[in-house]
């Protein structure tokens, strides 16, 4: 049990995929303008990440490894992720059309979120069990969601702040992201990741 908790904390906070490993920066910057859409994006990405971590673990250990085709893992995982994202898009369009409209192009672009592929590849390299792989994906997704929502809230307040002219827009967003990244380094000693 404590092992599982350790995996969750280690992936969500200590080895946070966005702020420590710098994966998945595109949605981190792109969808963090409004808190509402950031929460929707976080939920969709959480679903995709967890599901694709599980499925790619199965594909790797049940299909590729027995046939000696480990070298196909990247293309196979991309296939898995694309299918899961497409499935998520269908679900979101059915359950919440407004969220579908708000997320727009960023929903299919989860496919190219390198955090999703990164989680699948890294969890295979850890040689973990199926449950551990799922938790690894869930932890990564929770970390991503936490950072995305925090950053969106931050940017909503930044929009009202009196920022010096040359720093407005993307510049101040980058600077505040790097400050958040520095803050997350404070977790480094928490768990031996």
């Amino acid at each position: 049990m404590s092992d599982f908790l350790l995996i969750l904390v280690s992936t969500a906070l200590v080895n946070n995929f966005v702020l420590v490993q710098f994966l998945g920066l595109c949605p981190f910057m792109g969808v963090s303008n409004k808190l509402e859409s950031a929460i929707g994006m976080a939920a969709a990405t959480t679903f995709v990440l967890t599901l694709s971590a599980l499925v790619s673990h199965l594909v790797f250990h049940r299909l590729l490894a027995p046939l000696g085709l480990e070298y196909l893992r990247i293309i196979a995982f991309i296939l898995v992720i694309a299918a899961v994202v497409q499935f998520t898009e269908l679900m979101v369009r059915k359950t919440s059309p407004l969220l579908h409209q708000v997320l727009g192009i960023f929903l299919p672009l989860i496919t190219t979120n390198c955090a999703v592929l990164g989680v699948a590849l890294l969890s295979v390299r850890r040689e973990s069990s199926l449950i551990e792989a799922g938790l690894y994906g869930l932890g990564a997704a929770l970390g991503f969601s936490l950072v995305l929502v925090l950053f969106a809230a931050l940017r909503e307040r930044l929009a009202l702040a009196d920022v010096p002219r040359p720093f407005r827009g993307a510049a101040i967003a980058m600077i505040s992201a790097s400050l958040m990244s520095l803050a997350f380094m404070g977790f480094a000693g928490l768990v031996q990741g």
């Binding site: 409004k34 046939l67 293309i75 296939l79 499935f87 269908l90 407004l98 009196d162």
Partner: protein
């Protein structure tokens, strides 16, 4: 056959990827059938907010086509009969910024007026009015119920004797207009402008 595949790694690779793609394709096809969306629910909601006068002032042949156009990203400020409340409701529904009514529309509210001495009682304007704001009967003089009129000017066209005109809406006599500020009232510098110039 199996031996052939086992001896040629490339065949196994091709078969595995093909199998994966087919399996996912079948799953997605099934999901697309299972979670099919009937029509577009957003368009339904937009359509419910529009005033349903079907006046065509937005440039579309009715409220439903305009709702579909908004769903595709058209501006939300093209509905003069709906006015500000409709724009605000649409902005709220779609999460967009409310905008002032489209520039082509009249700045001030207008109301149709029938010069009653010239009216021949043909009832054509009654049929044209989308909001039933014209009162009258065949070969009787017609008149406009000013409170109901949206100023959409659809009744001007069908009138055979051109006795209808649009006039500026009379101000509401029961409420005094708020006095406008004159220069001597503004001795305090506006707060926001002061913060920006700092």
């Amino acid at each position: 056959m199996l031996e052939l595949i086992a001896n040629h790694g490339i065949l196994a690779a091709i078969l595995v990827l093909l199998g994966l793609a087919l399996a996912f394709g079948a799953l997605l096809g099934f999901a697309a059938e299972r979670f099919r969306v009937e029509g577009d629910p957003v368009v339904e909601k937009i359509d419910a907010l529009l005033p349903q006068t079907q006046c065509g002032q937005c440039g579309y042949p009715g409220c439903r086509p305009y709702a579909e156009a908004i769903g595709r990203g058209e501006a939300i400020n093209k509905c003069p009969p709906g006015g500000e409340p409709t724009i605000a409701a649409l902005a709220d529904l779609l999460g967009r910024e409310p905008e002032p009514l489209d520039g082509e529309a009249q700045e001030e509210p207008r109301v149709a007026y029938i010069r009653e001495a010239e009216c021949i009682g043909c009832t054509k304007c009654i049929q044209a009015c989308p909001v039933d704001a014209i009162l009258g009967a065949a070969r009787q003089m017609h008149t406009v119920i000013a409170e109901e009129c949206t100023g959409c000017d659809l009744c001007l066209e069908p009138c055979p004797v051109d006795c209808i005109e649009l006039r500026p809406r009379e101000p509401d006599a029961w409420h005094w207009p708020r006095p406008e500020l004159i220069a001597s009232d503004r001795h305090d510098p506006p707060i926001i402008a002061g913060a920006a110039s700092r």
